[in-house]
Amino acid sequence: MVTLTADRVSYTYREKPVISDISLQVKSGEFVGLCGKNGSGKTTLLKCLGHILSPRGKVLLNDIDLISMPSLVRAQQIGYVPQSVHGRIARSVFDAVLMGRRPYITWGISAHDLDIVESVMELLGLLPFAERDLFEISGGERQKTLIARAIAQEPAILLLDEPTSSLDLFHQLEVMEVIASLVADQGIAVVMAIHDLSLAMRYCSRIVLIHNNRVVRDGPPADILTSELIADVYQVDAYLSSDGGIPHIVPIKAAYGA
């Protein structure tokens, strides 16, 4: 059992608070959806949880402060998937996923590393693209490559920043199913920043709602994603439905001045 704890975490960018005084605990087997408006601080919170940014306050992994943890050990425990690729270096999909083994290798690559990479790529349907260039494949396949790289790290905690934002319907469901199965079968903890509230409601076991740089609600999806709260936080009139047993949120109109 692994626990990631944020203890009164704050982060300011150019003297402007992005997240303020956030405390949160995530345990193995939880699938946490981080919801909130654009600019509410979801991405910053994810980066602080993964020690990509160094916030005020503490982030603890099983009571060990991430600051005092060797960076490679931290990377064996926490995988982070950014929203997009920043590099422009032509690299094959296989090489990109293989890089996920960095926390375990110093120079050479073992048969075990190759097995892990092959399994992860098969899991995400990336094997047919193995030798293709990262910039020759579709945005969706590229996003899946980033996710595959983080899974190849074999992390106990996976942090994902809107992984479905550039995916079509098929790939959205495929990625969410894969992540949900990792949570269910391997017992990893997932924290995912997500805009699609219907997907969040369907797959996440817990929703953390961020508003004005702070956590305003934290609990099971059905308790958090209510019409009233959506109107309060997003200024959108919406109703909840569960046709065919699948919960989803239907936005009706933007409630200006609400």
């Binding site: 692994v2 193995s28 993964g50 020690h51 990509i52 099983n62 060990i64 943890m69 960076s71 490679l72 050990v73 990377a75 064996q76 425990q77 926490i78 995988g79 982070y80 998937v81 950014p82 690729v85 920043h86 590099g87 422009r88 270096i89 032509a90 690299r91 094959s92 296989f94 090489d95 890089m99 996920g100 960095r102 926390p103 375990y104 290798i105 110093t106 120079w107 690559i109 048969a111 097995d115 892990i116 990479v117 092959e118 399994s119 992860v120 098969e122 094997l127 193995a130 910039f135 790289r149 983080a150 899974i151 790290q153 074999e154 992390p155 106990a156 079968d185 391997q186 017992g187 990893i188």
Partner: protein
Amino acid sequence: MILKPGVALSIPDTSSKGRSLTRIYLRDKIQKIILMGGLIFLLLLLLCISITVGSAGLTPGEVGMTFISSLLGSQTNSYSTAIVFGLRLHRVLFGACAGFGLAICGAVMQGILRNPLASPFTLGISSAAAFGASIAIVCGVGIGIWNEGFIVTNAFVFTLLATMGIYLMAKRRGMTAETMVLAGILIMYLFSAMTSFLQFFASAEHNQEIVFWTFGSLSRTTWEKTVAIFTILVFSVPYLLWKSWDINALAEGDEIAKGLGVAADRTRALCMGVISIITAGIICFTGTIGFIGLVAPHIARMLIGADMRYLIPISGLIGAALLTGADILSRSILQDQIIPVGIMTAFIGIPFFGYLFMRVRREYW
């Protein structure tokens, strides 16, 4: 409490899956090793040709006999020994080391700055070295005890200062690849303007010397300089190879690198420090030799991809072969005249640079 590695994935039995990636990986690895062997052979061939080229009137046979005689310790022709060992061999070996060093500096810079146009030349480091040398030439001011020492040490110090300047300016602005390259362009213009300023007041003789220095030449090499640059490479190349995975990760962006456990800022600073020493060690002796550091890594990347574990040595071998080849041309195109090798590398490099520019516009490199 000691943490175990994260959750181990339950890997299904892969024996029946054919391990297609293992096959691809091994095939690629063998291809890269064969390529490396081929490049080493090509470089040795070019070195052999290079040592036989020159205006001393020695035939390849005489050069070969001089080598064999000195290896066997027998009586040798003192004229050919003086030409081969006193003039040519250190020049040829220095050229190979310089090409190797400039190319790996370009490869590492392009990786850690995530920019295909990064190289010691395009980041303004060579301009800073030229300014340092110009101060020594025009004002006779510098660190050292004899005049050539002024030029060399000034060029070395200004190279380090320029690299540190690029690093510090970019760090202040948040260390993105874009800010670092902008800082490099700024430094290039600044030092070019200051060199021009010095040239404006300099005598014709000094101007000629400055111009000759900025051409970039292997004519000023000695055995001591060759040993110096070889020693720098012996210590720095293993370090850069050891950091290959970290540089690979940095090339994907700081967030990904940090997520993979790489101390991004520290690694970039250390790698910049190491490559600035290599660059300074080379161009303080040769003057401005452009394009090797830009072109060689691109050729290597097209051949074997972006994995720094192979890109560093293969870029180095290509750079060494290119500079040796350019040196052969520079000594054999005109009779009784040696064209500075920096001009030859520019002739080879500029068409390639244009070709790359077209590729970069497609955001692919």
